[in-house]
Amino acid sequence: MALLQDFILAAVAAIGFGMLFNIPWRFVVFCGLIGGLGHGLRFWLHVNNGFSLELATLVGATLIGFSSYFLGRRFRVPQLIFAIAAVIPMIPGTYAYQTMIGAAELVSEGGGTPEMLVNTSVTALKTAFIIAALAIGVAVPQLVLNRKSPIV
């Protein structure tokens, strides 16, 4: 039940941002579908199976990478049309700006404690690792299936 809700919410988020990115309607529906599937997989791995958020993100993003790769083949369009909007629900936005707020609080009055420094560094690293996991996951099919000698 929680999984189904996660799938639907992630699909809504992917479609919303897909429309902001001006993806035509006939493709944006697929963004929602694979975005929901990827986020649902991450949720299932992280919450139900105790995977770390970073590793779960990598697996979820790889699912999105492969689905968008084959959808791109099927419709003869660039893969990134599907992949970009689909990974948006997994972007660690909250971590990202919490890092910045944490950095500002470090220099505020009563701040500068070792715990704050540790907390801020941990959120910063989490942000970086999750984003790296997303980009690597999406790039995997191209790196594995579509190897070619550089043309430019």
Binding site: A10, G16, N22, I23, A85, Y97, I131, A135, A139
Partner: protein
């Protein structure tokens, strides 16, 4: 047409296409291969493409002649529909052997192509997306609905300022501030909802997801300087979000 005049046209068109792709936030790999595909389809033997963080340089060579040109690139935000039409245009040039003038005509059409959706739909859809984030963080339905409302208003404000060419970072500060202030005011009305969750979900509409992903993708595929530039830009926007939030927290603290 003499070879050199022909080459000048090839360079002009492929440079133009590369510029459009970069403007609409395509990843560097896509830009390079598209420029190369178009140039060779139009009759060059070889294309060399150099991308910088805010410019593109293209060299075309054929029959021992060569031409090089560069162009500045301004960021115009993500527009997948244009990337899509440019890609299908290149495929068409390859398969149907369009002439230089036909191709030029099509590129002019693409650069004038409007949006797939009416302008007022986008803020509402992004609002719905942030409402979904809020529910995902475990908020109740009422909190999520307020987030939808605040985000939608904030996105309209963002659109208003961007259209008037305010600095992007300033616009992000203003948008994050207004989303957060709307929610703080609603909390004091008093409506009963989870303010912290709503605020953290509402500003997610501003997180530069595409530049962040593109930054790492470029780094993975060997475009290190562009990847770093995109990453720094995305970080600046994230800082701007935090600044907007912190200003609003300071204001919310006034008068208890």
């Amino acid at each position: 047409m003499t070879p050199n005049v022909h080459l000048a046209n090839v360079v002009e068109l492929s440079l133009w296409v590369g510029q459009l792709l970069m403007q609409f936030s395509a990843e560097s790999e896509v830009v390079e291969s598209s420029v190369h595909r178009l140039g060779t389809a139009l009759g060059a033997d070889w294309m060399d493409v150099t991308l910088t963080s805010n410019g593109i340089i293209v060299s075309a060579s054929a029959h021992g002649e060569f031409r090089t040109r560069s162009r500045r690139v301004i960021d115009k935000g993500v527009d997948m529909a244009k990337i899509l039409t440019i890609d299908s245009l290149i495929t068409e040039v390859h398969e149907k052997h369009l002439t230089i003038s036909e191709t030029k005509h099509r590129i002019i059409q693409i650069s004038k192509q409007g949006s797939c959706y009416p302008e007022w739909v986008k803020p509402i859809m992004v609002g719905a997306a942030c409402g979904a984030f809020c529910r995902m963080f475990g908020a109740d339905v009422f909190t999520s609905l307020l987030t939808v409302l605040a985000t939608t208003v904030a996105m309209f404000i963002r659109h208003y300022f961007l259209k008037r060419h305010y600095n992007l970072l300033l616009v992000v500060v203003i948008t994050a501030f207004s989303a957060s202030v709307i929610l703080s005011v609603a909390r004091k009305l008093p409506l009963d909802f989870d303010l912290a969750l709503a605020q953290s979900a509402a500003v997610l509409c501003l997180v530069p997801g595409v530049p962040l992903i593109n930054a790492v993708t470029d780094l993975i595929k060997g475009h290190v300087t562009i990847g770093l530039a995109k990453g720094v830009k995305a970080t600046m926007i994230t800082i701007a979000i935090a600044v907007g939030l912190m200003i609003s927290f300071a204001f919310a603290g006034l008068g208890g």
